[in-house]
Structure formats: structure tokens, C-alpha cells
């Protein structure tokens, strides 16, 4: 009888479940910036800011994201760094430095395959990118 009751209790909803329900990226810690807000930033009519201010703010935000990503990498927090760079790339997909650093973060997290994919993507845009070529060589040398 007791066993039946226990079986009827649904499994517990976790914080991760709740964040996912709200479309909050759970792979990133909350101290980074979110893609969701950028959509809001685009609807600047609502906030009576002109295009120039919106553009300037966006530049500030991408700059902040990049600096935070680099700081997280230096601080040996590749998971956080990944979140910053991915968010930045969602707004500015052609940010080469962010893509190079994202590959470093992925590699440090053990996702060498993901790192390779990012680097190969960089070479599509810049076939002679020295850093991408060099890092691919490193991945080759360790068998990825």
C-alpha cells in the first residue's frame, strides 16, 4: 500500500526544470548575459531610444560579453566562458575572436569535437586564420 502511494507521487521538479520552462539557458551561470534580453533590446521603439543609442548599447554589451568570456577562461571557468561566447555569437555570429575563444572553452571542457567544429567554421570565413589552423593542429596531435 505504501509502495503504491509512493509510486503515485510525481518526480520532483528541479531548479533546472524551472529554468528550462522559462527558456533561461541552464548551461550558463546566471552571471552572464542572456540572448533573450537582446530581443528586447531590438524593440527599442518601446523604450523610446533611437537607433544610434540601441546600436551603441549593443556594442557595449558584446564588448562586455567578450571581456567576461576572456576573464572566465583566464579564471579557469570554461563553462562560464562558453556561455558568454555563445551569447555573444547569437548576436554577432561573425565575431571571429569569440569563435576562437569558444573553441578553447569547449576544448577545456573536454568537447574536442565541438572545438574542432567551431575552428573549421572560422576557416570557412577566414581560410588563413593562423590561430584556427594552429589550434586544429593541436587537436590533431591529441587525436581529435
Amino acid at each position: 500500500m505504501t509502495e503504491n502511494c509512493q509510486n503515485s507521487i510525481p518526480s520532483r521538479v528541479t531548479l533546472k526544470d524551472l529554468l528550462m520552462q522559462k527558456n533561461v539557458p541552464v548551461s550558463r551561470p546566471a552571471q552572464d548575459n542572456g540572448q533573450e534580453g537582446f530581443n528586447r533590446n531590438c524593440s527599442c521603439d518601446q523604450y523610446s531610444c533611437d537607433q544610434e543609442i540601441a546600436s551603441h548599447r549593443l556594442m557595449q554589451i558584446t564588448d562586455t560579453l567578450f571581456k567576461r568570456g576572456v576573464a572566465a577562461l583566464k579564471d579557469d571557468r570554461p563553462c562560464c566562458a562558453r556561455g558568454f561566447f555563445e551569447t555573444l555569437l547569437a548576436v554577432e555570429p561573425d565575431h571571429i575572436k569569440a569563435r576562437l575563444n569558444l573553441s578553447v572553452a569547449l576544448s577545456r571542457m573536454g568537447d574536442h569535437k565541438g572545438a574542432r567544429t567551431v575552428l573549421e567554421g572560422v576557416l570557412v570565413n577566414e581560410p588563413d586564420n593562423a590561430i584556427a589552423l594552429q589550434n586544429l593542429e593541436v587537436l590533431d596531435s591529441i587525436g581529435f
Partner: protein
């Protein structure tokens, strides 16, 4: 350099004001110059310091409405190193008038950052809602700490706060970051406490879990006397816990 900290949670009754007031006093006891900013129309932080909210004197509403300068609304408290910008019930106009009110989301940030402040900490206590006042506080801060009791509905509120931080980051303040989550009304012996603590650590990392504030009746009694926990019951576990929390926040920088 002044640190701008906000204790925020859209859920009421999570010890947000108690935390803001007692952390402010603890930091003042550590010889920091602290400004406590009461952004809640209920004026509970103002009351907790033994002051009577008075709409007739310059206060946070006057500041946000452009009717007073920053220096006009900062009052010394009876506690050394601790000043306050009091609130009063007329602040509720800000939320009611909404877009008609002259204070936009950046108003507080502009006022606070327009001149160098002779403070080590500015601690903000916004209302338990997501409105103009809370957004102003988050847009003007660098760090947000989220006090929350260890139960499921509070965890849902936490998830909502995290979503809000993302929005604030992107729309108004890229410099805002999560400082930590503060377990309040803490009882380490319950299963739900252990589960939620585990969730927080797993999702955000151990360093975002602040020292807990245990359940302590003195914390509930102190505001009724217009006193902080360090004045009312300095040897209570409430005082010990808030001292540990203030040290955690101080060392986070």
C-alpha cells in the same frame, strides 16, 4: 570604489528587507561607509532602522521624481557609518503611474553614478515585485543577491529572478551579475532544504550559495523595536548568521 548591491526577489516574505538592513549594519560594523536605500513603498527598511516614514521630507520618491538632489535625501542613521535614503508611501505612485512617471528604468542609475559617492557600499531594498522600482534598482547595481526560503515555490521565484537578471543584463545593465543565493528561514535538517541546496550548487556552482540565515525569532522581533539584529540581540544566531553573510559579500569582491 562604491559597490552597488541589491537584494531582490519578486516573492514577498523571503527576508529581503531583514537581509538588506542587517547586512548594511554588519558592513557598517566592519568600518565600511554604507548607504541603505529603501526603494519599497512599504518603507520597511526605513522602519527597521527606527525612522518614521514621512512623505513630507525629501525621500527616495523625491529623488526619483527629480525634486531633490542625492545629497538632499541621504540621512545619517543612529548607527555609525550607516546612512539611509528613506522611503514613504508616496513611492507607490511610481509603480501606479508607470510610464507616466518621469523616472525611467535608468533614472536611479543616472542619479547614483552621476557623481562620486563617499560610500563603500550602496545597498538597495526594492519592493517584492517586478516593476519600475525593482528594475531601477537592478539597472543601477553591479551585484544582485537573492534571499530565498528553502521551499519549492521560492525556487520557482528564483528561476524567475534569474530570467529577470538576463533581461536586465541585455536591456539595461550588462554589468549586473548574480552575487549569490541566500537561503533564509534555514533548517538544515529538512529534506527539501538539502534538495534545493543541491539544485543551486548543481545549477550555479558552490560559490553562489551564500551562508544561510537560520530561522531565529529575534530576527522577526527586532524591526518591531526599530532595531537591527546587532542592536536587539547581538549574540543571537541571527546576528551570527548575518555577520557571516556580510563577510561572504565583502570577500566576494
Amino acid at each position: 570604489m562604491t559597490r552597488h548591491i541589491v537584494f531582490a526577489n519578486r516573492k514577498g516574505g523571503c527576508a529581503k528587507t531583514t537581509t538588506a538592513v542587517n547586512v548594511a549594519h554588519s558592513l557598517a560594523l566592519k568600518n565600511y561607509r554604507v548607504l541603505l536605500m529603501d526603494l519599497d513603498p512599504q518603507a520597511h527598511a526605513t522602519l527597521s532602522l527606527g525612522m518614521v516614514p514621512n512623505p513630507g521630507v525629501p525621500n527616495i520618491y523625491t529623488l526619483l521624481d527629480g525634486g531633490a538632489n542625492l545629497e538632499d535625501v541621504i540621512y545619517p542613521s543612529r548607527i555609525a557609518n550607516l546612512s539611509i535614503i528613506p522611503s514613504s508611501r508616496n513611492l507607490s505612485v511610481v509603480e501606479i503611474e508607470g510610464p507616466c512617471f518621469s523616472a525611467d528604468e535608468h533614472r536611479l542609475s543616472e542619479v547614483l553614478h552621476s557623481k562620486k559617492m563617499d560610500m563603500d557600499y550602496v545597498i538597495m531594498d526594492p519592493p517584492p515585485s517586478v516593476g519600475t522600482l525593482s528594475v531601477n534598482a537592478l539597472a543601477a547595481s553591479e551585484e544582485v543577491y537573492i534571499p530565498m526560503p528553502m521551499h519549492f515555490l521560492a525556487m520557482e521565484g528564483l528561476a524567475e529572478m534569474v530570467r529577470l537578471i538576463y533581461q536586465i543584463n541585455a536591456a539595461w545593465n550588462p554589468g549586473l551579475s548574480l552575487g549569490g543565493i541566500i537561503p533564509t528561514f534555514y533548517n538544515k535538517n529538512t529534506r527539501i532544504t538539502k534538495e534545493i541546496e543541491g539544485d543551486i550548487v548543481q545549477t550555479f556552482g558552490e560559490k553562489f550559495l551564500a551562508p544561510p540565515i537560520r530561522q531565529n525569532v529575534a530576527l522577526a522581533e527586532a524591526p518591531g523595536h526599530g532595531l537591527t539584529i546587532f542592536e536587539y540581540a547581538p549574540k543571537s544566531i541571527g546576528a551570527l548568521d548575518y555577520d557571516a553573510l556580510a563577510s561572504f559579500i565583502d570577500e566576494r569582491h
